[in-house]
């Protein structure tokens, strides 16, 4: 098992004929993802990479059926694209797009929750269930199938963590990049609950960063609700106050959102906090004696 996606997940791509959309559709197909079609308004009826293109998400859903949609459209169209996916009630919506106006996410977030759908992102690398399927932009070559779940607010940092785990022979059940924006569709807690319920996942690595209080809330949640071992790594301890560190959500405001506060919260919840990427992998290896 894995969470959210596996080899049977039927996927459509919104923005399939765009530069990023078409490139990553190719990469996902190569990895074995079951992509069944794409959407580009005005290009319905065409075909690309052997896949049918539709004018709208609803048309695509009705024609080919799908469990998930991945969005690669430019930031100014992202709200409309997510809204279309919500209206078509696609169960899993992944928004890769970076730079989405933050206020646009408020309404989308609450609509998704009200309809019982799942939104990952925006400003995220997507997710991968190694050996089964991937949605988004994570490089498949660094992952191996296994029993560790990974949840992260960052893209390349996720690759670095997964690379370190793989280097020690530790495989992953699913790796989820939840995104670096102030409001994202799924937070650490949403994804943790799925890993807790997944019989194949034995432990979870959480990769957090400065800004907001999501990590603090997650630490409290773990203490009450999560039995599986968790490990945390937080970046941004050396970031200056009041500056956005690349990600729209990575900002320390006054005394709030610091790496120190997050590390402390996890430590108090009994979650070991690593100081370096290598240390995360070593902690997991030591716990499970998986170092083979």
């Amino acid at each position: 098992m894995s969470i959210l996606i596996d080899e049977n997940t039927k996927i459509i791509v919104q923005g399939i004929t765009g530069r990023d959309g078409s490139f990553h559709t190719g990469q996902m197909l190569e990895y074995g993802a079951k992509i069944v079609g794409g959407v580009t308004p005005g290009k319905g009826g065409q075909e690309t990479q052997g896949l049918p293109v539709f004018n709208s998400v609803r048309e695509a859903r009705d024609a080919v059926g799908c469990d998930a949609t991945v969005i690669y459209v430019p930031a100014k169209f992202a709200k409309g694209a997510v809204q279309e996916a919500i209206d078509a009630e696609i169960p899993l919506i992944i928004c890769i797009t970076e730079g989405v106006p933050v206020n646009d996410m408020v309404g989308l977030y609450h609509q998704v929750k009200a309809k019982g759908l799942t939104l990952i992102g925006p400003n995220c690398p997507g997710l991968i269930s190694p050996g089964k399927s991937k949605i988004g932009i994570m490089p498949g070559s660094i992952c191996i199938p296994g029993k560790i779940g990974v949840i992260s607010r960052s893209g390349t940092l996720t690759y670095e963590i997964v690379h370190a785990l793989t280097g020690l022979g530790i495989g992953q059940s699913t790796c989820v990049g939840i995104g670096g924006d102030p409001i994202v569709g799924s937070n650490f807690r949403d994804v943790l609950a799925l890993f807790e319920a997944d019989p194949e996942t034995e432990a979870v690595v959480l990769v957090g960063e400065i800004g907001g209080d999501e990590e603090e809330q997650t630490a409290a949640y773990i203490k009450e609700n999560i039995k599986k071992p968790c490990f945390a790594y937080i970046v941004g301890a050396s970031a200056p106050e009041g500056k956005r560190m690349g990600h729209a959500g990575a900002i320390v405001s006054g005394n709030a959102g610091t790496a120190e506060s997050k590390q402390k919260a996890f430590a108090e919840a009994g979650v070991p906090v690593a100081k370096t990427i290598d240390e995360v992998a070593e902690m997991v290896a030591a716990k499970f004696n998986l170092n083979s």
Partner: protein, 379 residues
Amino acid sequence: MNIHEYQSKELFREAGIPVPEGRLALTVDEAVNAFEELGGKIVAVKAQVHVGGRGKAGGVKLARTAAEVRAAADAILGMDIKGHTVHRLWIEKGSDIQREAYVSVILDRSAKNIGFIVSAEGGMDIEEVAASTPEKILRFGSNDYSFPESEARKAAAELFDGQGVDACVNVMRKLFQLFLDKDLSLVEINPLVLTGEGAVVALDGKINIDDNALMRQPELLELRDMNEESEAEITAKEKGLAFIQLDGDIGCMVNGAGLAMATMDMINLFGGKPANFLDVGGSSNPEKVVHAFKYILDGGNISAVLINIFGGITRCDDIARGILKAFETMDIPVPVVVRLTGTNAEEGKALLEGSSLIPATSFAEAVKKTIALGKGEAA
């Protein structure tokens, strides 16, 4: 992006939120002229800088005569407030204050909504109020962009009485609409006052605009004050780089914001000091690497540079081409350590073979080597 108080008040005025009459002054003479234009009675002379605590720092003074205005303006212009130099003054008619309150609208990351923060403790540092007397703070919000009328009315009744309640709700409604219309992340009025004439007036104004939304708010972009911004950070952004100058000596060039932060942390952990945060972004354009070098070296005081790339969308061979191009076109007088992993790493390393660049295999090794070379030690 932040804007000045006087710019926030101009947006308030356009939105129908009452503000005192005022004038912008860039010189002492302009300040005195403004005083005369405003009727020659009591005025507030207020430093315009993007930082809180201006009052405590002496950046806000009341003046009753032209001579007092001259003295206040002379004292405040050029003043340094928490590292911000005062170049602009806002001269504003004094108000007859009966009661002071605090009202702000924020993007609430925890509640994932657009939230109001309201308190009868106006004119105070709201973070201090929240920490010492949290019961004096009211919070409520909107999940669907509709104005939370009944909660706003309840809150307004805690702040003012009589016709002040209606006026306050009106201000809150307009503030909420302004927040939505202008794609704000924060709009704060501290204090919002009830005057002797029964009017509710914004005596201060602070606005933060969502950077992601500036693409659809071009007229707000014109309010940017380059004196308050790092020019390097702004121009780097235009070139697709996220760059922030820090005060250390180890230059960093990294792909991805999270990995860039991890690199800074690791430099600190091993006893070095990062000179900057720099995310070259996801695209593989070699030209970006050349620009990145320029920003790093322009910061000055660089002892060594660490290039840490985990190729995903970014291809390591493109980064390597960019590095070689930078070495061809500019003088790079410090050791440069390069660690390439991921997509096309082998091709990238092959390109760099025989150059003066110092290769490293692991992240930790790269950081240690760079710090050692920066200190003039053999790596």
